[in-house]
Structure formats: C-alpha cells, structure tokens
C-alpha cells in the first residue's frame, strides 16, 4: 500500500494536477467503501449460516441437559429393573395418558426424533415460538395441544440458522416416523400422504403406513406436506384448516411441524402433518423400534 518510490525528485506539479489527485482520492475512497460493504455482506452470510448454528447448538445442549435432569429426578422409583425387550408390552392407549409435566416458556419439555434424518437426529423441544425460544430449538406453539393429546401438537423450527432443526422437512416422505418423547411416554406420529399420492393411496403398500390414510371429513385436505403463507395460522389449530380453537370430541391426534420456505427465505411456510399411530410407556433401556427405521 506504500507509494511507488522514485529515485529522482518528483516533477513540479502540472496545472490541474491537484484537482486530479482529489478526484483520485475520492474514487479510491468510494471503491474501498464498496469492497468493505461487500466483505460485510459476506460476513453476514457466514454469521447467519454458520455462526448462529454454533450459538444455537450451545443453547440446545443446555436445554437438553436441563430436561435430562428433570426427567432423571422425576423418574418413578420403582424397582422395575427388568429390561423390557418386547415393545408390545409397553404399548399404551394414548387416551389413558395425561401429561404429568408442566411447561415453562423457553424451557424444554419433550424431545423430537425423526429417524429418516439419521439416528442422531434429536432435538429438545422448548415451550414457545418467539425468536429466543426458537434459537434454542424447535418451539411448541404454546396454545396448541401437548404430545399424544387429541388435537394438534404443533412445533415451529428454523429452516436455516440457529441450529437449522427443520432444514430437511422437505425430504420427509409419507409414513416417515416423527417420534416425540415426553417425561413418561413415547408418541410415534407418521407423516400423512402427500397431495399427489392422495388419489392412488394404498395404506397396505408398506408396513409403516398402518394407520396412515388420506384424510376425510373435517380433516379433508390435510396432507403430509403443504406450502402456505405465514398468516395461515389455522394450520396449527386442533383440526388443521378449521378455524376454531375448540378440540372436537372425535378429534384425531395430529402433529404439525412448521418452518420457513423456501430455504433462505421466510416468504412462505412449509407445513408437515402427521397422525399418531403408536405410543409406548417409557421404561429403562427401552427405545421404540420406530427409532431404528433410519
């Protein structure tokens, strides 16, 4: 950056030289400013895509640590140390399971597993969907139902940045398992048929599709994946698309995952709907067989 060194004395300034020097200084200043702005924009991309992931994963680890402690201390002190190997013995009727836990805004209360995304795909779900909550991990819409309950267990998550929990929702296929773990229960949801699969849907085509079917009645038009606008709040209501917060007596047990769409934008929302197909009581050493579907 140092000026060229000339062995001879500089020539006397020509007429108008002074003006050209000033123009050069201004042009160079503007050029440097533009380069600087470009570098700042690049740094922002690095921040958004990588750095917030680091911050988010730290918050997620802390939330997971906290929920593990809560669950460990709440574990029923039965002396039932016999390892249960047959999942059928632990199958429960979700109608008879009521949450024993309380939720606090910004704190974890459940874990979410999507075996199709790999055996290590696990996120602690926190209560609430403001930006601080979602920095920690997927957030439960506080006014929606809890895992396993009749109605809609609705969870929002970032597509890109802040740990990117829901980046791959676009890769979910119908009948893929979405498993929620709470203090006492495992709830296995399965993604509903996609719109394009609706007409020729055959629920017997795959063992995973038991209990998964094209929706009818008040649920007609609820599909496995939907792209919608951010104001489409009815997606997370007890019966998706039905503009009522009341849970009808014959309501299903639905899970809804929401994230930004398309990637790197928040212009639209991607919605995943699934239904509860299986539930298990938790037991020491027991993991639902669905977790191994990866």
């Amino acid at each position: 950056m140092s000026g060229a060194q000339t062995p001879v004395a500089p020539p006397p300034p020509a007429p108008g030289r002074r003006g050209r020097d000033e123009v050069r200084t201004v042009v160079r200043g503007v050029g440097q400013l533009l380069i600087t702005l470009g570098v700042v924009v690049l740094l922002f991309v690095v921040y958004e895509v990588y750095v917030t992931d680091l911050f988010g994963s730290q918050k997620q680890a802390a939330a997971t640590e906290a929920i593990n402690q809560v669950w460990a201390s709440a574990e029923t002190t039965t002396t039932d140390t016999v390892a249960v190997t047959d999942p059928n013995q632990l199958v429960t009727d979700p109608r008879q399971r009521t949450p024993r836990y309380e939720t606090l805004s910004g704190e974890g209360f459940a874990k979410l597993y999507i075996p199709a995304f790999g055996a290590d795909y696990r996120f602690t779900v926190v209560e609430g969907t403001n930006s601080d909550d979602l920095y920690i991990g997927p957030g439960h819409y506080a006014e929606t139902q809890m895992p396993g309950q009749q109605g809609n267990f609705a969870v929002a998550g970032h597509r890109v940045s802040k740990g990117s929990p829901f980046n791959d929702l676009g890769l979910l296929a119908s009948c893929d398992a979405v498993v929620a773990e709470t203090q006492d229960d495992w709830f296995v949801y399965r993604v509903l048929p996609m719109q394009e699969e609706g007409a020729g849907w055959d629920g017997t085509q795959h063992a995973h599709c038991a209990g998964v079917g094209v929706q009818t009645g008040q649920y007609a038009g609820v599909y496995g994946r939907e792209i919608t606008v951010p104001t489409d709040y009815a997606q997370v209501l007890p019966v998706p698309h039905v503009d009522s917060t009341a849970v009808p007596p014959d309501a299903q047990r639905v899970i809804t995952l929401t994230t930004c769409h398309p990637q790197f934008s928040d212009r639209e929302r991607m919605i995943i709907h699934g239904v509860l197909t299986q539930s298990y009581a938790k037991a020491p050493g027991f993991l639902p067989p669905e977790l191994g579907e990866g």
């Binding site: 950056m1 160079r28 740094l43 921040y47 750095v51 930006s131 940045s161 709040y233 928040d266």
Partner: protein, 51 residues
C-alpha cells in the same frame, strides 16, 4: 481510508500486518456479536413470526 490507517500503524511491515489482522478480527467480532444479532430481526431471511 485503509492507506490512512496503514500509515498510522507503528513499527516495521511485519508488525503492521499483525496489527492490521488484529484490527480486522476486532471488527469481525464486533459484527458477529453486536451488529448482526441486532440487525437480524429486521431482515427477511428466517423470521419465524407466528402471529
């Protein structure tokens, strides 16, 4: 702007480079920890506004 900064850094060229690197890292840290977290909510990339 950068020429002006470079001229004011003391010491030989190698030391100047080290100082320039330190200044750059300081600016990056300021951006990552202060400016970008503040700026982010105003940009339309990942706002999960949920009404």
């Amino acid at each position: 702007m950068y020429v002006w900064i470079w001229r004011r850094l003391p010491g030989p060229t190698a030391v100047k480079w080290l100082q320039a690197l330190g200044l750059f890292l300081a600016v990056v840290a300021l951006l990552f920890f202060v400016v970008f977290p503040w700026l982010e909510p105003y940009l339309p990339f990942d706002r999960m506004s949920t009404d």
